[in-house]
């Protein structure tokens, strides 16, 4: 006749609704995730620009005029900040998904990050040149 096993009376601490405000890591995570709204939002604006192009020179010129509105400029400024933050965090994190190995040794993370920034810089310059050369 052994003693009956008693179940523990455990206490479950509730998860706060605003859990993301609990520490800096969580808050930055949410900011990072929300950059996707501006990545998608800008893609939409780009699509609208292309549509105005398809609709003819008048609609294109009109669209460029709306891009000069304060609301549009503010949107693009915020979108730029979001896109840059997305790029910085993406280059830091995406390489972790690929454990690149050359000749049996792991390629140092810093090298992969640097390569990403180099590609980013090169592509940005190339795009600017492509579009802006008169």
């Amino acid at each position: 006749m052994g003693a009956a096993l008693t179940r523990m009376t455990t206490y479950r601490r509730p998860v706060p609704f605003a859990w993301w405000l609990r520490n800096r890591g969580y808050a930055l995570f949410v900011v990072r995730e929300l950059t996707s709204v501006f990545v998608g939002g800008y893609a939409l604006v780009l699509l609208l620009l292309l549509r105005s192009l398809a609709d003819g020179p008048d609609s294109y010129a009109a669209f460029l005029a709306t891009l000069r509105a304060p609301a549009a400029l503010i949107f693009h400024a915020v979108a730029l900040a979001a896109a840059v933050y997305h790029s910085i965090t993406w280059f830091r994190l995406a390489p972790m998904a690929v454990a690149l190995r050359v000749g049996g040794r792991r390629v140092p993370g810093g090298l992969i990050v640097a390569a990403n920034y180099a590609a980013w810089g090169a592509l940005s310059v190339a795009l600017a040149w492509l579009v802006l050369r008169g």
């Binding site: 523990m8 890591g25 998904a97």
Partner: protein, 252 residues
């Protein structure tokens, strides 16, 4: 031993108490103890247990960061109490709570049944059809060892589960340590169990619940980098699924 003329310095700890037999709800109890520069939080808790309050319940063992027993929330951050130095907090108060996202059994002791149930689910052993070589062992080069060594350093301290907001919101998520452990075997040249583990990792509440918050890697005391293990698992599982889709006849 105190130097002559040195004033007594003290530090205050606010410790989470939960004593189900005596009180249904938890509370905090404050203790003021002598401050020693070379003490860690575990030393402070041991002092409290020895001299001030013998009823305090907590887990600890090696007191040097290898056993994984003494994980606690210290000022809201999951840490090994044997690795949290008082001098990093002094003269502020130190708040000590049980590891987040686990039910509390008593004071600083958590019920870790969920973690223990999840580990064996990923088949954390070398899966092989053939028998081991007689009177010898499986050979492995340093390069082959290097592929999985980092993921084998886990001390099962559960700090990553305490840090993971996905696990907080979804207790069915298999979690960082379990996935890192699975990767440790998937990347082991001696192992042939990848397909078995795919069924667990690729299932609901497996790797796909993770959104790469990354806090697990930040708090890991053994530098396992479970977040990296999970992202690698995602990439390899996604590519496997695409391959399955394109070549359905190819499944052996």
């Amino acid at each position: 031993m105190k130097e002559a003329g040195t004033p007594d310095r003290t530090i205050t700890l606010d410790i989470f108490r939960y004593q189900p037999g005596e009180r249904a709800t938890p509370s905090f109890q404050t203790y003021q103890i002598p401050y020693r520069e070379d003490w860690v939080v575990l030393d402070a808790i041991n002092y409290i247990k020895d001299r001030l309050d013998g009823t305090l319940a907590y887990r600890w063992s090696c007191r040097m960061g290898v056993c994984g027993s003494c994980g606690m929330m210290i000022n809201g951050v999951p840490k090994l109490s044997c690795a949290a130095f008082l001098k990093d907090y002094y003269p502020e108060r130190v708040r000590v709570e049980p590891l987040e996202n686990f039910p509390v059994a008593r004071d600083l002791v958590i019920a870790l049944d969920d973690f223990i149930e999840k580990l064996p689910r990923v088949h954390p052993w070398v899966v092989r059809e053939d028998a081991p070589p007689a009177a010898a062992e499986y050979r492995q080069t340093p390069a082959q060892l290097d592929r999985y060594k980092q993921f084998s350093m886990c001390i099962n301290c559960m700090l990553c589960y305490a840090a993971c907001p996905i696990y907080a919101l979804e207790p069915r998520f298999i979690g960082p340590a379990a996935i890192a452990l699975a990767q440790r075997y998937n990347l082991d040249s001696r192992d042939e169990g990848r397909e078995q583990r795919r069924e667990v990792l690729g299932a609901h509440h497996g790797i796909w619940d993770c959104t790469f918050v990354g806090e697990c890697t930040t708090v890991c005391p053994a530098e396992v980098d479970p977040a990296g293990a999970i992202q690698q698992a995602k990439l390899s599982e996604a590519l496997s699924r695409v391959k399955d889709l394109l070549t359905p006849w190819g499944r052996r």
